[in-house]
Amino acid sequence: MKQDGALVKKFVPCPLWDFAGLQDWLNEQARSGYALEKWPGFWFIGRVIFREDPSAVHARYCLDPMQEHFGIAKLREQAAGYRELGWHYVDKIGNRYAIYRCDDPQAPDLYTDLESLSWAMKKQVRWVWIAPLFWLLWAAVLLQDEWPRLLHEREAFIMDLILRSDLLIPIYLFMLAAFLNALFQGISVSWGVCKVQASLRRGEWPAPQPRRYPEFCHTLVSGLIVGMFLLFLAYLDLSGSLESQTLSGPEEWDFPHVTLEEVLPAGAVFQDYVHPEILPSDTFDHSQLAPEQYNVAQGGMVRVGNAVQQETRLRQEWVRTLTSSLAQAVYRGKVAALHRSLELYRLNWEKNVSTLHPNLPNAYDSLREEELSYPGLDGLTRFTYQYSNKTTPSTVYIGWADNQVLVLNCSGAVDSRAALELLVQRLAED
């Protein structure tokens, strides 16, 4: 059957579910002297390969809907049966249709009644519905960590979205676009196949669709989505936007803050940690929605009067967002995140109570969460807790004023009330 004619690539003008349109198009090409050479499988981008073949002028092409679980052995067996009746297998269109060619003008068409063609399509309809289900499952698996957060930790999820907006918003938009693109494709194919089958059931030959080259357009859209995403990742990598900037010390804290020395009781003697690296590094982060994000800590050993030396830490977070409502969302996210973190600590403690700390059944000696009103702040929540295996309590203030969010985490000898008062005063001055 093969000739020595030149190979020609042509774009497929109709959707792959359009049984009648594809068949008409293949026969038109044959009448113009182009025989189908190959229908690309995985690398199909909307065009197929023909060969110039004068003998194709008299050939007929027909599509045969492929059945479920249609393996290569079954296909070969069927092709052998068809060959005896004058039809030769050419290639297949994915798992949808096998393409046959007949050069005998006396041989009957592949399907001589519409009812049998409708039955052959019926199994395909079921198969086609698997595609949208697959994409739904794909999305569920891919976002398995995100769904529970959206449902149960919505505030913390929104906060992350604001604080890491440069990364997360494009990623979620990309995933949404990829998912919608795939889902739309799945639904449109399913709808198309059902439409073809409905025509056949009514005893009508399905009408070919307008020729708008949808397969190539779909490839183009998918390529654009993936291309833009890759460019975005390259930009993030080159610009270093994903990495936090490490700060060398308080001289770089360009935000309203207090220092540990300012909030220790009078007469307290401060001594640095022997290993200062146990303190987390001070960092600065940036995003379009929250352009300034500081996270700093100071700590060491403090003795007040004749009391025993105690470990003391002051950790501060400060976020400036673009708008006041964004700041409110970050504030709520910080509160929810700390609430959840304390709850997880309790659950983990209780889980290991019998093996790790049988004498301390409770994770906390005390734990309190209160919403307070405080002059100069639009919102304030105070967490006061004491771990059962520690001797001093911790106090965390999470506050919000206009487009700023502050977190003041005090433990040990820090005078938390004085720290808050001083910090709010500096916020006002700022």
Partner: protein
């Protein structure tokens, strides 16, 4: 399609079942039988033929008896014979009705 609630058989289905009445057959034998029997009036394309064979097998109207390489031979089951008989009775009733109407 013939039998309980399945509606009448289509013409190709009727002739394919008829082909099995006297002997076991393979796909190409059936196509030749139908063409000869109907003097070329009913032609079975390979897609139609193999779809019908697959459907009949799914509905236990025929069963496979021999596989020789890629050639498969089938025979009619008692259920298939009943479906065929039912269709013949239906066609006879149609013919009777038509003849009565002509007499009037």
């Amino acid at each position: 399609m013939g039998g309980k609630g399945r509606g009448p058989l289509t013409e190709p289905m009727f002739y394919v079942l008829m082909a099995f009445l006297r002997q076991e057959m393979c796909g190409t034998d059936i196509a030749a039988f139908v063409e000869q029997k109907t003097r070329g009036r009913v032609k079975l394309g390979p897609g139609t033929l193999y779809t019908l064979l697959s459907k009949f097998q799914d509905e236990n109207l025929i069963e496979e008896t021999e596989v020789e390489g890629r050639k498969r031979t089938y025979r009619l089951t008692s259920k298939g014979r009943a479906a065929y008989q039912e269709e013949v009775e239906r066609l006879r009733a149609c013919l009777r009705d038509a003849q009565e109407e002509e007499l009037l």
